[in-house]
């Protein structure tokens, strides 16, 4: 199954740590916001208004510009029943769609298998970062995990000339030798997949030119790599990267850290979108930004602690921009276990992307039927 340029592509940017939704899409029109955030709040006159009730944190300027063009869907109050406030566990739940037991398969791992059941393209999915997030894990499904796109490959520590010889030897050693035993054969095919994938990916950096200059942060550079891979037309359908080190976990000094994080992310999103436009690719790419939970209604004097009921963003030409779902109420009697009450399940968000954007059947991939949101244009 070959992919044309117009096969829909999904990009996921994971904001690890639990982004503070209240200070990202700010309910500045609600007195309860000022009451509950005596220290850690965005002053009303700094908010970039969307309407009389909510507005953007001022550091999301570039995202607001895209929002005003209708390219951004804001998904409010997203979560799941029995919210879990552990980073690992909650992120696991977002990755595996299993809120009640430990899952080992990722929703996107399953999606990759649905898109490319015979693994004909070893690069159906590429992750940027070290290790593999569980969202992409599915036994038997190859996923390239790239720490550094410029140097990605097998035996990259070797000098060029030696490396060419070594890779030649490698490809002979690993080419299918039937009947060496199940594990040895598995190693051989895995090695060949990796070599093929690395070979193909090396083209991406060579072919890419752009007028867009991305920032220097890890997130910016990985999003740039993602743009390089998309525009190289390698048939990659899913791309993933993660903001590192749980950076959004702003228990303390939030008013220092949070602005910087969002200045970086929103500029990066804007650069990425512009880059796609430049390459005529913005109509077949959708970008999801998500986090594992929101934060507590009341601040702790310096930052905010783990809560629930967060915000997700979906970006792209195919997106019906605007506010989706509802902003959770801050009224004490409406809270869930003391935190913002989610009003839509993240698996509905996933199902919308899987079905309305990628054209797959969402139920087996997220483990059930969940109400979709209307943020993808028909």
């Amino acid at each position: 199954m070959t992919s044309t340029k117009k096969d829909p592509v999904l990009v996921v940017l994971q904001l690890s740590g639990g982004n503070d939704a209240l200070n990202t899409i700010v309910p500045y029109g609600d007195p309860l916001y000022q009451d509950n955030r005596p220290v850690v709040r965005i002053p009303t006159d700094q908010v970039l208004p969307i309407n009389d009730y909510v507005g953007f944190n001022p550091n999301l300027g570039p995202i607001k510009e895209l929002y005003d063009q209708g390219k951004i869907a804001i998904i409010q109050g997203v979560g799941y029943p029995h919210p879990n406030r552990s980073h690992f566990r909650s992120m696991d739940i977002w990755h595996t769609c299993e809120p009640d037991k430990m899952g080992t398969e990722g929703w996107l791992g399953r999606a990759i298998k649905a898109i490319d059941p015979k693994s004909e393209n070893v690069l159906t999915c590429v992750n940027f970062g070290r290790g593999l997030p569980r969202s992409l894990v599915m036994p038997g499904v190859p996923v390239a995990s790239v720490g550094n796109l410029e140097t990605y490959g097998v035996l990259t520590a070797m000098e060029d000339e030696q490396r060419m010889e070594a890779l030649d030897i490698f490809s002979h050693i690993y080419s299918p030798a039937i009947g060496r035993g199940a594990v040895e054969d598995y190693l051989s095919s895995t090695g060949m997949d990796a070599l093929k994938g690395a070979d193909i990916l090396s083209v991406a950096t060579e072919k890419y030119t752009s007028s867009v200059e991305y920032g220097g942060s890890v997130v910016a550079q990985y999003m740039r790599n993602i743009a390089q891979v998309i525009t190289a037309d390698l048939g990659v359908r899913i791309l993933y990267t993660t903001a590192p080190y749980n950076s959004f976990d702003t228990h303390a000094s939030e008013l220092v850290a949070h602005p910087k994080l969002w200045a970086d992310v929103s500029q990066t999103v804007s650069d990425f979108y512009q880059d796609l436009q430049e390459h005529n690719a913005s109509d077949n790419v959708v970008l999801l930004l998500f986090t594992e939970f929101g934060r507590r209604v009341h601040d702790n004097g310096s930052g905010s602690d783990h809560g629930s009921g967060g915000i997700a963003f979906v970006v792209g030409d195919a997106v019906r921009g605007g506010l989706h779902a509802e902003y959770p109420s801050l009224a004490p009697e409406k809270l869930l276990d003391g935190d913002l009450h989610f009003n839509n399940d993240f698996r509905g968000l996933y199902t919308t992307l899987l079905e309305d954007w990628l054209g797959l059947d969402g139920k087996p991939l997220v483990g059930g039927s969940f109400e979709k949101l209307g943020f993808i244009k028909k």
Partner: protein, 468 residues
């Protein structure tokens, strides 16, 4: 010194430890196989790592709190321990008696648990289970502090039976019933923790096990067919007597030390690969009063073990620690070990934080297209560096063999010094041809070291090198 003796010793050291340099292999082979097995089985006779020394360099290691700091510390231990089997048995039990930092959120508390495995891991199985049942990190991880006389929480009771001592079933029948799970949980009511383990807001302090008799269900209970007012220790003693316990320990020891078996959930239906060795281990389990050391003595001295070379895919810890032991770096406290310890995580083994209470899937499941590249690149990077003392030692050893080396000898020499690896004929021939292209190998030539290092890299990239 026969090459076969060295190769056999390399096999023993890879399995009972994390491998060894050729020099260490020669010393140990001279001592003799059985004598070496005895030495390995008594780690307490060797000096321990000096934590004092480490704390003078890493002053925040007075209490090693963070997950990644603990992983760095553990990697240092695996590289430098003079008690290899103690570290290996700690890794062994950690992969079975799983707790995860994702829930416990206290590296220091998990380290205290691991130290129990170091101290008691070669001792009696029921004693180890009692240590585990009263370990605060385990109590907390499996919610036993929420199990009460009038409202039990089955999590610990179930996992003790299913994952820590008997397994779901053997020889195609079940080992325990749901009633046994409930009774097990009832027996352990009152086994709680005296204080919580938060990092915030009260800082870091040691969690304490607490036995609360008021919350303990004293009633008569029937567990695995035996009736009495059982408490936790009684249940453990009944467990230890079961043939299923013998099978459980034997199969796990086999899977970790001898050869890869199917994943654990398949054990109820799939028989052991080597029923004879398993039977020997089970017999020794009962004969020795449930002693792990005795079982390992039988295991290491068995023909099955000696013939099981390269029958296991290396775990990430073995890939990293084994390679570092070979190249001879980080033998004293110095910066730079943290990113290397994180490689173990990138290869799929987040030490002290397994994905679930079931632990890691081992064997071929360590390998996917991402982790295979990490493993190959890491080993090639380390072994290709001629400035590393271990690589220099290999180069010197080969240089001392004569003024020139035949291409065949260069290849076989590298395979020997890496620990007796064997390659299929097609692969060997390809490597030999590669050397032949550069002409005869002169050991005094300037590029000799580089040619050796490159050969080590090529060997490290083969499928065979993924096995131990």
């Amino acid at each position: 010194m026969a090459t076969q003796d060295i190769a056999l010793m390399a096999h023993l050291m890879r399995r009972a430890g994390f491998g060894a340099s050729y020099k260490e292999l020669e010393t140990r082979a001279a001592k003799g196989y059985e004598a070496t097995v005895e030495e390995l089985l008594h780690p307490e006779d060797q000096p321990d790592i000096s934590l004092d020394l480490l704390q003078r360099y890493f002053t925040d290691w007075k209490q090693i709190n963070g997950l990644e700091t603990n992983q760095t510390y553990w990697t240092y231990r695996m590289i430098n321990t003079k008690r290899p089997l103690e570290e290996k048995i700690c890794l062994f039990w950690h992969g079975i008696f799983c707790v995860g930092d994702s829930k416990c959120m206290s590296g220091a508390q998990i380290l205290r648990q691991l130290n129990k495995f170091r101290r008691n891991g070669l001792g009696q199985f029921p004693y180890l289970l009692t240590e585990l049942a009263s370990d605060p990190a385990m109590v907390y991880y499996l919610d036993n502090q929420m199990s009460h006389k009038d409202a039990i929480n089955e999590n610990w009771g179930r996992e003790l039976l299913e994952l820590f001592s008997l397994g779901v079933g053997m020889d195609d029948h079940a080992n325990y019933s749901e009633d046994d799970v409930k009774v097990c949980a009832q027996a352990f009511t009152g086994w709680t923790i005296g204080n919580a383990m938060p990092r915030y807001p009260y800082g870091r302090y040691e969690a304490m096990f607490l036995y609360n008799p008021d919350d303990h269900d004293e009633a008569q209970k029937t567990f695995l067919g035996e009736t009495g007012p059982w408490n936790g220790e009684d249940v453990i003693n009944i467990i230890a007597k079961q043939p299923a316990a013998a099978r459980f320990v034997a199969r796990h020891l086999y899977n970790f030390f001898v050869a890869d078996e199917p994943q654990v959930p398949a054990w109820q239906k799939s028989p052991p690969r080597d029923p004879q060795l398993i039977k020997m281990l089970e017999d020794e389990y009962f004969r020795s009063n449930y002693d792990i050391r005795s079982m390992l003595r039988v295991l290491f001295n068995s023909d099955s073990f000696k013939n099981a070379r390269f029958a296991r895919v290396k775990s990430p810890a073995e890939v990293v620690a084994g390679t570092l032991r070979l190249v001879g770096t980080f033998t004293s406290p110095m910066p730079g070990l943290h990113p290397i310890a994180q490689e173990i995580r990138y290869m799929g083994q987040d030490l002290m934080n397994p994905p679930t209470v079931e632990g890691w899937h081992t064997g071929a499941e360590w390998i996917d297209s991402g982790t295979l590249v990490e493993r190959i690149n890491f080993c090639a990077d380390q072994l290709g560096d001629v400035t590393k003392p271990g690589v220099q030692a290999i180069i010197s050893r080969l240089a001392a063999e004569g003024r020139t080396l035949s291409p065949e000898r260069l290849v076989s020499g590298c395979l020997e010094t890496l620990g007796g690896y064997e390659l299929p004929a097609a692969t060997r021939d390809r490597l030999i041809k590669h050397i032949q292209k550069g002409g005869d190998v002169s050991t005094s030539a300037q590029d000799f070291g580089n040619r050796v290092a490159q050969m080590l890299q090529l060997i490290a990239s083969t499928q065979e090198y993924q096995f131990a």
